[in-house]
């Protein structure tokens, strides 16, 4: 324990408190800009990091809004004709590439890879493509890319499948059928930064990218613990996106992962395996519709494409995108993660709450009418229902408690903690760290913890998302 860690744990507390007291609804969908016609401006800006560093960036701004890192997440519908008009306020030509799309570029000046917008706002380029295929894609500058992408000219493109209706959960899929259905989705755009390059380029000095040496790492443009702060937080005006996956037991979490920088990163999910169902916007299927029904080794409920790969760590390669489905149930723990059966509790309507008093409680029933082994409503694993907690925990003086620990081992029932410990898990969920497993990348300019790290929250059945 040294001074650095005391500093950073203060920052973590701050983030956690904001997570639970400032976050607002609509967490099930990814933040971004929707529509068919977009106007981007490439501009200079700065980002602020948890270590106190303020780093110059070049980013795409949506219209005349704040420049941002990463660029605005474009969320469009399958079949739409999408136009992105780019204005350049940087000192060198800039452009946008849309890998995986058939793009027509007009205006501006011709560049090596595509047409470019010239400096000073004098010329505009318009990129037009038909979003023919649903999925997760990326976009980034095709001009002086070794520096410009590092500087922040990179973003995500999400194409919603035909039939997607944000108001109708039954239509929420990544690729248009049940194999990619989800209950919540989160973007993980993974980038890294060499601040020295940014200070030089930001000052108009030559920046030699061959000496690239990153010292800070990001999910969606934020380094931990800011990954867990609210989206649109006022003190992060140029980093509007957070990275805060959460779900109830049994729900399907769609992770849309993008290798946005120039390094590869192993993205690890504590809590369970996931199923990799698509790569670069294409389902991993041997034939259209081919699916695997997961039973014995099911980390997820339902089906996945037949060539899906189960794993606990996804290697994320520069420029590639990955869609994965994650589900957590606590299946097979050998003890009841909801704790002892509450004999004073009657929950005939299976909403996780006492029918009379409305308090959260865990009654004697586990109702599995469809025979999948789980309670039909709560997705509790019935074979472990009522099984006692298997070990004796040490006394409080012998333990150090994490800020995201509820005080007890049971989902949905918090327990008391020593003063000043824990305290940021009022719903008594289970938190699981999702992070780069090249652990060096869990630092912000020499300070641990930070970097490519966030927490996935399993919310107890019957609790709402914050």
């Amino acid at each position: 324990m040294d001074l650095y860690r005391y500093r950073i744990s203060g920052a973590l507390l701050l983030a956690a408190s904001l997570l639970f007291f400032a976050a607002t609804g609509a967490v099930a969908a990814i933040d971004g800009v929707t529509g068919t016609s977009f106007s981007f401006t490439a501009r200079e800006g700065v980002i602020a990091n948890p270590d106190g560093s303020v780093i110059p960036i070049w980013g795409y701004a949506n219209g005349d809004q704040a420049v941002q890192y990463p660029g605005p997440t474009l969320i469009v519908n399958q079949g739409a004709t999408v136009t992105v008009t780019l204005t350049n306020q940087l000192a060198e030509p800039v452009s946008i590439l849309f890998p995986g799309q058939k793009v027509t570029a007009t205006g501006g000046a011709s560049g090596l890879l595509t047409r470019e917008a010239l400096p000073g706002g004098a010329s505009q380029v318009t990129y037009t493509f038909t979003a023919s295929h649903p999925g997760t894609f990326t976009y980034y500058s095709g001009s002086h890319s070794d520096l410009q992408v590092e500087m922040g000219l990179v973003g995500a493109l999400i194409v919603r499948p035909a039939g997607y209706d944000p108001q109708n959960k039954a239509t929420w899929t990544a690729y248009g059928d049940a194999r990619s259905a989800y209950d919540t989705e989160t973007l993980f755009l993974m980038t890294e930064m060499d601040p020295e390059l940014h200070y030089r380029a930001g000052a108009g000095l030559p920046a030699d990218t061959t000496g690239f040496f990153p010292t800070i790492w990001f999910y969606n443009g934020r380094a931990a613990p800011d990954t867990m702060a609210p989206a649109g937080a006022g003190w992060l005006p140029n980093q509007p996106y957070n990275c805060l996956p959460q779900a109830h037991p049994g729900e399907r979490v769609l992770m849309r992962i993008i290798g946005g920088g120039r390094d590869s990163h192993p993205h690890h999910t504590h809590g369970n395996n996931f199923e990799l169902i698509a790569r670069d916007g294409r389902l991993l299927e041997s034939a259209p519709g081919a699916s695997a029904l997961l039973v014995a080794d099911a980390p997820v409920f339902g089906t996945v494409p037949d060539l899906a790969v189960s794993n606990f760590t996804q290697a994320v390669i520069p420029g590639a995108t990955y869609d994965t489905i994650f589900t957590w149930t606590g299946q097979g723990l050998g003890w009841d993660p909801y704790g002892a059966i509450d004999s004073a509790c009657t929950d005939a309507d299976h909403d996780g709450k006492d029918d009379v008093h409305g308090r959260m409680c865990h009654d004697a029933s586990c109702t599995d009418t469809n025979g999948d082994g789980f309670d039909d409503a709560s997705k509790e694993y019935c074979a472990d229902h009522g099984k006692p907690f298997p070990v004796r925990l040490p006394g409080q003086q012998d333990l150090t408690f994490g800020q995201f620990y509820s005080g007890g081992p049971f989902l949905g029932s918090a327990a008391s903690l020593p003063p000043g410990q824990g305290g940021f898990n009022p719903a008594a969920g289970y938190f699981f760290m999702w992070h780069s497993h090249n652990e060096k990348e869990l630092t912000n300019n020499d300070i641990f913890p930070g970097g490519m790290l966030t927490m996935f929250l399993v919310l107890p059945f019957g609790t709402d998302m914050p």
Partner: protein, 400 residues
Amino acid sequence: MAGASVFFQCPTLSNPGDPGSVIYNGTFADNVVVDGMIRADQGEILNPVSPRQVCVHLSSGDGFVNMADKQLDPDGNGMGHEQYMFGFKNITGIPDAEAMLAGMLAAEFPAPTLKFKEGDEVYLSLTNVGMMMRPDLFDPHTVHWHGFPNASAIFDGEPMSSVSINMGATLTYYYKVIEPGTFMYHCHVEATEHMQMGMLGNLYVTPAQDGTQKSFGGRTYSKFAYNDGDGSTGYHVDFPVQILGFDSNFHDQHIAVQPLPFAEMYDDYPMLNGRGYPDTVNPAPLPNSFDGRLSQPIPALITANQGERILLRLSSLSTVAFHSLTVQGIPMQVIGEGSRMRRSFYTTNTVTLGGGQSMEVLLDTQGVAPGTYFLYTTNLDHLVNRQEEYGGMMTEIVIQ
């Protein structure tokens, strides 16, 4: 030291047959420990709470190991560069009153291999013995079973969402092992530091199908990587091989009580199973130069008889980089990754693993001439022990 807080927890029934009569300080027959574990199915637990109960006791603390640059001999001790480390030690069977002493300065690299069987109910006690050489530190520790399916927060070992164990005390983890596969384990407290410092080890689970006979490809197997149903993952000998490395600057700064160079982290001692080549192929446990303890007990030498199938249980706990591994002269059939059997197998000559990835690879030695073959990283700059060349992340496969 609060010796009273050391508590190797291997619960038993005070009244055999009565599941309600659990006592947590039961008795066990520690005179028959042969595998570093106390197992009910080997008759080592009196009145076990489950016929598949397994009890293990690890200590966490510090210690020293020496690197493989024994030719250059940078420290002049003839044993290679001495490195301070954090690590685990298997102290199963040692009485609670002696556990602290047994764990002090006893860190091993890599951590003791944990090998379980599908169906086991594991009680893993972790006693934090403290860091003798860094008395200014009061770090807690954990065990994180990396890849455990449907984990709980309390037994996940990730300290922000859970608990970690303070010096002088014991925390017991419980794992009902319902899936076979190649996992790994490490301490997750201040993960970048504790993992770079060496708190890493092999962990794998053999499937329930083991012990049955299945014929596949003209050969009959009784050991399998997974419950494949058809013998397609059958093997004769298996070897866990873990990618890891030390950044000598980080370790040297640590023992010098200097600020830790996270941003500069670079493993100039790339290793397999805690050793650089040629130490990887030395079958003996290796002593350190600090106090002569055998702190590197695990070789990475792979041996088989011609015609056998070798299962490599590959994992990476590098804190820095992706690595590719290749086997010269023997095709590599990838049959599983991330502790799951692949839905389709493929054959290759290289596999790539970042930190936290695992993979099962079959090497079929049928028709392979007896001799020595090499398993090494194709990140060729990692074939060094810092200044000494012809070393690093490499080992040998000897076919007899």
